[in-house]
Amino acid sequence: MQTTTVSRDFQARQKRQILLRRLCPLLTILLLLLFWQWITDREIISPILVPSPADVFAAFASALADGSLARHTMTTLGEMMYGLLLGVGVGLALGYAIAKAPLLEYVLSPIIVAFQSTPIVAYAPLLIIWFGTGPSSKVVTTAVIVFFPALVNTIVGIRSVSPRLRDLMRSLNAGPGRTFRLLEFPSALPVILAGLKTSTTLAVIGAVVGEFVGSGSGLGVLVIMARSQYNTPLVVVTVLTMTVIALSLYSLVALLEWRFLVWQRRASA
């Protein structure tokens, strides 16, 4: 009797803790907003440098109303999507090839490492000259920046496939196609999805860097235009929009993980 009460208490306490943990991020955001409002109310920092939440909200409402925010967001989202498809696609394919043929790694790694360790901001202007001033150059900057995590995680994922499971597949006379579909892909999926999480957050950077160098629309352009019009609230709105996009894409991949990696969740439970 007593033990059940204790355990019920314990359960209730655990539930409360879980709820609290879920509320924590919201609480942080709320506190941050209050702190922000307080700073601007007291004019501790000049409103020129930090606009008030109210001003930012007004800028958000007006950018939403005239459709400009949606238009620029769609441009950036489009560039990001195609960039992700291209960069992650090539990363997956090349990663698989390298994992299977270590010789390729020796041939390609100098180029890949050079590409990766050079700041994209530095050579983005070249990409604009080579791939034109339209969206294609932003797709390329995005692809270049998202490519690496996809590549590395694919190599790691495929290389860490259990050799004993490979033996099993061989003993079952599974061909390369079935080995890929039934063993390599599901086995590497957790690592690949982890890489995809990194790639999606980097995609925003890639698109915006490309837009900074020269573009007609997109959130990167909106930041420059807002800044050149001294519309700091709109700058904040645009930056927050980028944050929301990055977080949403990240959550989307997290959702994929939740959906496809049931076994991992159950294993840790």
Binding site: P125, I128, G216, V221, Y230
Partner: protein, 377 residues
């Protein structure tokens, strides 16, 4: 305890003496835009000839984006900045109380570069052209809008391409018919490319300046309102020093180029050029001693270039050429004087572009000529 006290006293003395060594100079940051470049030669001349230190300033130059320059001056984190007049109007319409006290560029530097085969004697002919521009912001965009406005056209009647600061490459690839550029910079680069036959089929280019159509206010020195009210004498000293440095640069570009070499890493030079410039600078100094007129000085600059061109190739002289072209945009009888008409024209363009915020206020408060002595010359 006693030792400690003595030690503290010595330390205090030491510190005060160290500060004292620089105490007679005011530390000042001047915020510039872009990157170190020969176009900022007057500042390098001011530093090297001591025009700033003579009036009590220890000047440090910093390069930022234009909006950052303006905001830092507006909130008082820096006392002086160089921005274009349109930035002053835009920023003032959004609550930044900055004042423009010295008009450095007398002519708006933005221009349209195009193939000589294209006849733009009638601006109407801009219609339908594919025009490259760094982006829909800043002076280039205002300049283009001004040209279109003068032609009676709107942006939808041309094909606008955002190409970043890559005009020479994009233009020479033939991706655009014309490009919005800075009159004192890209046209020279493009001409060097056409001369070398590296600019597609193009043989020569022409430049259509915005200034040839409308007088717009351009780059100048800004301060913020409270500084203007609290320490006008300090501003007067700074403006005076800059005007002197500007005058030295205009009068003796060879000397100015030599001064710039210590500040701009990528400035082309070799021993022969340095020797030639040193000699040219000395000759120019002697020539100036006779007190020549502005037109005579302008003539001497052309002679100087012709002399150097016989000795050196175009690539080595490219940046010197940029300096001479820039000087043409700076030179005036009264350096620094700003005309209300040019402000009004600028404001009208910005209003046309729908860029202005709500509290426009009095345009007359945006600039001041009180530090510019008309009797200067």
């Amino acid at each position: 305890m006693l030792y400690l006290k003595r030690f503290a006293t010595i330390l205090a003395l030491l510190v005060t003496s160290m500060i004292g060594a620089q105490a007679d100079l005011d530390q000042e940051r001047i915020l510039l835009t872009f990157i170190p470049n020969v176009q900022f030669a007057p500042f390098y001349v001011g530093l090297q000839h001591g025009t700033f230190s003579e009036v009590g300033f220890d000047v440090e130059l910093e390069h930022l984006q234009e909006p950052e320059v303006l905001d830092l001056v507006a909130v008082g984190q820096a006392n002086y900045g160089i921005v274009s007049g349109e930035q002053v109007i835009l920023a003032r319409s959004r609550g930044r109380d900055v004042v423009y006290v010295f008009e450095w560029f007398q002519q708006y530097p933005v221009a349209l570069v195009h193939s000589s085969e294209l006849d733009l004697s009638n601006l109407e002919q801009l219609r339908g052209l594919k025009i490259g521009i760094p982006g829909r912001f800043g002076a280039s965009y205002s300049g283009l809008t001004t040209l279109l406005n003068s032609a009676g056209l709107t942006e939808s009647e041309i094909e606008l391409n955002e190409i970043g600061f890559n005009a020479p490459e994009v233009f020479c690839l033939g991706a655009v018919d014309a490009a919005i550029v800075y009159a004192n910079n890209e046209p020279l680069q493009i001409r060097n490319l056409t001369d070398a036959g590296e600019c597609g089929d193009l043989e020569d280019v022409e430049v259509l300046t915005v200034a040839s159509q409308v007088d717009l206010v351009s780059n100048g020195l800004i301060v913020n309102r409270s500084q203007l009210e609290e320490m006008p004498y300090q501003i007067a000293r700074m403006v005076g020093a800059f005007r002197e440095a500007l005058r030295i640069t205009i009068d003796n570009p060879a000397g100015a180029y030599l001064a710039s070499l210590s500040y701009v890493d990528t400035l082309p030079s070799d021993d022969a050029l340095i020797t030639a410039l040193t000699e040219a600078a000395a000759r120019q100094q002697a020539f100036l001693a006779d007190g020549p007129s502005r037109a005579e000085v302008a003539g001497s600059r052309r002679t100087m270039l012709e002399g150097l061109s016989r000795q050196f190739d175009g690539a080595l002289l490219a940046q010197f050429h940029v300096l001479l072209d820039s000087i043409e945009l700076w030179d005036a009888d009264t350096l620094g004087y700003s005309d209300l008409v040019s402000w009004e024209a600028m404001r009208d363009i910005l209003a046309l572009m729908n860029l202005l915020g709500d509290d426009l206020g009095d345009l007359g408060a945006a600039f001041s000529n009180e530090f510019v002595s008309v009797s200067d010359e």
